[in-house]
Point group: C2
Chain length 213, copies 2
């Protein structure tokens, strides 16, 4: 299997979600045209995406839901359990600690860190909060392979550097700062602010197109 492009991976993540929904409803097959409609893309695209992970469909029926789920869990590495540490126990950090949804993907937050003495030394969402000075050492002993950054932007790069030293494989950055990591570390920026700006921009675009027509 060749590496998936980012776009393909994103569509397949959504296919995975749809397949789980279909399974929950007892549906056994799903057609590329149905998926395409829900994702707002061309149906040929979906067939190509399926083919890219060696999923085969059945003419006149569609793609087998159960196989989609299994195959994609394999491709995305969802069958492994992984430990994560979270840095920054502010509002967003606490929300993430209380979020049960990540466990479904095998990701468990096993420790949190903050520099504020008011925040460390207690539990949030079942996870102990340590002083940030202990990050490097504790991330190692907790065997964290993912680091979640929810600190203010100025501190994000420093935290990322420590996480890299501690040996994590991936960093999920919720701060708006553009951080840099070595090439062998997976990085995903989930900056909410930029998501908001993109939405505001789309609002403007639609307004303009409506005014113009």
């Amino acid at each position: 299997m060749k590496n998936l492009s980012k776009r393909t991976a994103q569509r397949l993540v959504r296919c995975y979600y749809l397949a789980r929904e279909a399974r929950a409803l007892g549906v056994e097959f799903i057609t590329s045209s149905k998926v395409a409609l829900l994702l707002g893309v061309d149906e040929t695209q979906i067939r190509k995406d399926m083919a890219s992970v060696n999923l085969e469909g059945v003419p006149r029926k569609g793609y087998p839901v159960e196989e989609i789920i299994n195959r994609l869990e394999e491709v995305f590495g969802l069958k492994k359990d992984r430990n994560a540490v979270l840095v920054g126990a502010g509002n967003l950090g606490r929300a993430l600690l209380n979020y049960p949804g990540f466990l479904r993907y095998g990701v468990r937050i096993v420790g949190a860190f903050d520099k504020d003495p008011q925040k460390y030394g207690r539990e949030v969402g079942g996870v102990w909060v340590y002083p940030v000075e202990e990050l490097k050492e504790k991330a190692k002993t907790l065997e964290a392979c993912l680091g979640i950054i929810a600190v203010p932007p100025r501190e994000a790069q420093g935290v990322a550097d420590i996480l890299v030293e501690a040996g994590v494989e991936g960093i999920w950055n919720f701060s708006p700062a553009l951080i840099r990591v070595p090439a062998h570390i997976a990085l995903r920026n989930e900056c909410l602010e930029s998501g908001l700006v993109m939405l505001l921009h789309e609002v403007e675009v639609i307004k303009k197109s409506l005014a113009g027509s």
Copy 2:
């Protein structure tokens, strides 16, 4: 100005962030090569992006930081104040209510809604939480032009439908559900789960490429 592609818009959002950082440091010009390095893209790309919003640079100096900020605030519609309502006052919803960062972009959450009587009838983060039955009516009286969805996936489509009826211009969907809205409504899916899966996938890809080399 032609409409920006999504990719271009996303890069420009990051340029905006960098420009604000530069201004805070007292820097007056920023070169395309520096921006390109920080964003991990080709520098020609950045010059094209700048040109696409009519930003002109100065040979041997770069692009004027102040102008970047002004122009992009105009393009992205950041100079307007807008009201937003939030539906779903669970963990994630409460985190968003407590998040001060959106105000910087002129977006103020003016009301929250939940179906759980334990959650409505009080304030969270300075915002009153109403019963969800009042959503349509209240969203109108509060003059909300944005709706933020932070409810469980099963309820997301229903909430979106009500928000559309209430006349919002854009919907920011934090549930993993793929919701559908009329073409004149801006929609952005910010599904955290899918972000996590993309990160896990990248971790797998890197692992494989390191093993292969």
